[in-house]
């Protein structure tokens, strides 16, 4: 039997849980330790695990490098976009109080929005970094 069976089966079982855990950390950031950066890294770790076990070619098919760059840029746009919406609704930049009918809900929506932006950017950046390093050919001595 191929000695990599254990790795492949193990990765297949674990990757969905890693992705789920990343989302848990993302939303748990409101109430405890967690948040966008940590969640983004864990989310990217799942893709890195996939690339390590199944090969970079398969990883490129699942998540093309262009998509990773676009994610990196899009998250920043989302974060700054939340700030723009606050300004358009009459508050200062990133003033979450004006985003909903009362300040508590506004803070809630604002934080979710910016953390989502952070998640997307960090995920895109981490995957792009991995692709950049792994995509180079072996350097011959």
């Amino acid at each position: 039997m191929d000695d990599r069976v254990i790795l492949r089966v193990g990765a297949k079982i674990l990757i969905p849980f890693i992705l789920l855990f990343a989302l848990y950390v993302q939303f748990h950031g409101d109430y405890g330790p967690g948040g966008g950066f940590q969640a983004g890294v864990i989310f990217a770790a799942a893709f890195v695990l996939y690339a390590l076990v199944y090969g970079l070619g398969n990883a490129f098919k699942v998540l093309p490098p262009k998509v990773a760059y676009v994610c990196g840029a899009l998250g920043v746009a989302l974060y700054v976009g939340v700030g723009y919406v606050s300004m358009a609704l009459g508050g200062n930049f990133l003033d979450y109080n004006v985003l909903a009918h009362d300040p508590a809900h506004g803070q809630h929506y604002g934080i979710i929005g910016v953390e989502l932006g952070v998640l997307i950017t960090v995920f895109g950046a981490m995957v792009a970094l991995f692709y950049a390093f792994a995509g180079r050919r072996r350097i011959d001595p």
């Binding site: 746009a77 300004m87 200062n92 979450y96």
Partner: protein, 491 residues
Amino acid sequence: MSENLPALLIVVPLMLAPVAALVGRAGASWAVATAACWWALYASLALLLRVWDEGVIRYALGGWPAPYGIEYRIDLASAFVALIVAVIGAIAIPYARTSIAREVAEDRAPLFYTAFILSLTGLLGISITGDVFNVFVFLEISSLSAYSMIALGQDRRALTAAYQYLIMGSTGATFIVIGIGLMYVMTGTLNMVDLAERLPQVADNRTIPVAFTFLTVGITLKLALFPLHLWLPNAYTFAPSAVTAFMASTATKVSVYLLLRFFFTIFGFQFSFERMQLDMVLMPLALVAILAMSLVAIYQANVKRLLAFSSVAQIGYMVLGISFGSVLGVTAGILHLFNHALMKGALFMAMGCVMYRIGSVRIEKMAGLGKAMPWTMAAFVLAGLSLIGVPLTVGFVSKWYLVQAALERDQWAVAGVVMVGSLMALVYIWKVVEVAYFGELDPDHEIQEAPLSLLVPTWVLVIASFWFGIDATGTAEVATAAAESLLRGLP
């Protein structure tokens, strides 16, 4: 919109940076970068005029009032420095289109323009923020994008130059963070105004002088004051020409502004100059910088490297002005910020034109260029005259204020050093002029004048350095008012 202008100054370029990364083609990214730079110019000019009329502008980010939240606090010195950065950015970006098309690969150009916008955003953010940790964040944004831009240079030594700058710059930033942490643990606040109020009460504890020291070393590293200047010559020499022109005129100037902000606003004149004897530390270093670095510049064979060492010497002039601690001295320092940005920007842009046409900036390759590229070399000569400090140029105005500040304190030796520095500048400028105008042109290679898109920004800066030299009242007024408000401290 106008009440959100402080935030928009930072946020519009910040929003345009991912757009520049996403558009994917060099020309479109350049257009986005131009929009960001010209918006920054408009907004910083509007902010300076508003501060001049109304006084300090305070803008609470996120609606949280200071000191609970992060606020932008724009006073005259901040607005002036932000304007300098925006002006140089707006002039460098049309220059960059042609220059970068020649020096950076086409598929990397969009990422270059993204890094350019991010660097501009970081530098503007440092100028206008009123929260010390925010300073660190923007400092790292501008520095990291600067490291990437430098690494895009053609020579392979650009990579080692970028690496060396990364190591030294990150060490400096970490020292600044240590200083900020020590201040935070003693006072419990990160807001500059609040810190200024609380620091005198805890200043007897040993932590505060230690924090002061860490901050001084960290900022001096970023500032490239002798002897922590080792990253500067390599970084300026091997970076793409547009990057050198932009960075030489902005990155170190903003670090000088940081020095002013920390020493005069947060720690206060009394603590910095009387208790910690800052002038005893800064003045000798500045004097050595002026003399030693000008001397080293004379012996360089690579003209960009020569200008880089000259920059370290000019930073010595700025820090010398600040170390006097008087209104005249700090005015001289702030004025030289502006004037040096114009002069060095013009000089490095002229070198970029030379690089564009002959592919090298070594002095022996520039023989006879005065005849082949008359406009470029004329720009170099005129900006060089400004560097020496000939009357009618901006360089003369700064040196005049510096000498006056020295004589006010009866320090004739210091005034003498300033004069000797000018003489040495004369030597190294003449070195280049002699080869360019009295050397023999190589008859085999036909060298054309640089294209208009490179010449026009260069000449804009040259003409500006003469304009503000002949009529210095505007800049001198702003600089004096800024110096007075800094020395007065907070009410």
